[in-house]
Symmetry: C2
Subunit: 168 residues, 2 copies
C-alpha cells in the first residue's frame, strides 16, 4: 500500500485488499492454533483446535485459489485486527491460573477469531457474487460454512461441558 | 492486571475481566462511530452509524449496570482486538479514493466490530446464566440483540444498495 497515494480505487481493489487481509489472518491462525491446542486441557477442545488447524490450512489454499481466479498476485497485507485478537488471547490466557478456567478463556478467544473471519468472508462473498464471480464466491462460501460450524461447535462445548467444569 | 501474578483465578474473575474488555471496546466505538458517520456518503449509512452511536452509549450504561449487579468496580482493560479492528478500519478507509467504494469499506469495517461484540457478549451471557445471574444475562442479551440487528441492517444496506452503487 502506498504511503502517498490512495491505492484502492475500485470495488475490485477493495476485494483484493480484503483477500490479502484475510490471507494474512488465516496464516497467523495456522501459527496460533497449535499453541492453543497445547494450552487446552479438555480433550475435545484440544482435538477441536487441531481439527480446525487442518481446516485453516485448507482455507489458506482456497484463498490462493481465489487469488488465481481473479488474476491477483498471492500476497498478504498486515491485518491489525487479527493481530489484536491473537494478542488479546495470549494476554488473557497468560493471566489465567486455573486450567479449567483457561479452557473457557481459550474458547472465548477462538470465537473472537471465528467471528472476525465470519464478518470478512461474508463481505468477500457478497462482493464476489456482485462481480458475477460465483466461482470465487462458491470457494469462499465453503470456508465461511466451516468457520460458522466451528463457532457453533465451540458454543456447544462451552455450554455443555467446559463452563460447567470451570465453575466447579 | 499484574505483571508477575496470574490475576484470573475463577470463572467470575474471567467474567469480570471480559466485562472490562468489552467496556473498553464500547467506549472506543463511541469515539469511532461519529468519524465513520462523517466519512459515509450514503444517507442511510450515515444515519445508521448515528443511530448505532446512540445504542452504543446505552451499551456502555448497561455494562455499568452489570458491573453493579455483580459487585465489581466499573473499569476497563485495554482491548487490543478492538484497537486492531479500528486501526484496520482507518488504514483501509485511508487507502480508498472513491466515496462509493469507501461506503462499502466502512460497512465491512463496522461488521468486523459488530462480530467482535457478538462473540464477546455471547460468552458473557452464557457465563452469567451459568452463575445463575439471569438478571445480568438479561441486560447483556438486550445489547447482543441490538448488535445482531445492526449487523443484519448493514448486510441489507450493503447488498441492496451500497455495493451496487460502488461497482457502478
Amino acid at each position: 500500500m502506498g504511503l502517498f497515494s490512495k491505492d484502492i480505487k475500485t470495488m475490485n481493489d477493495l476485494f483484493v485488499h480484503q483477500l490479502q487481509d484475510i490471507y494474512y489472518a488465516e496464516k497467523q491462525l495456522v501459527k496460533a492454533l497449535p499453541k492453543m491446542a497445547e494450552k487446552a486441557t479438555e480433550p475435545q477442545l484440544k482435538q477441536g483446535f487441531l481439527t480446525h488447524l487442518d481446516e485453516t490450512r485448507t482455507h489458506v489454499q482456497r484463498l490462493e485459489q481465489v487469488f488465481g481466479m481473479v488474476g491477483a498476485e498471492v500476497k498478504s497485507v498486515d491485518c491489525p485486527a487479527i493481530d489484536g485478537i491473537i494478542k488479546e488471547a495470549n494476554d488473557t490466557a497468560g493471566e489465567v491460573e486455573d486450567k479449567k478456567v483457561l479452557d473457557a478463556a481459550l474458547i472465548n478467544a477462538a470465537q473472537a477469531a471465528e467471528h472476525y473471519e465470519i464478518a470478512r468472508y461474508g463481505s468477500l462473498i457478497a462482493w464476489a457474487r456482485q462481480f458475477g464471480r460465483n466461482d470465487a464466491a462458491g470457494v469462499l462460501q465453503k470456508t465461511l460454512d466451516e468457520e460458522k460450524a466451528t463457532d457453533r461447535k465451540l458454543t456447544t462445548l462451552a455450554e455443555g461441558k467446559v463452563n460447567l467444569r470451570a465453575a466447579s
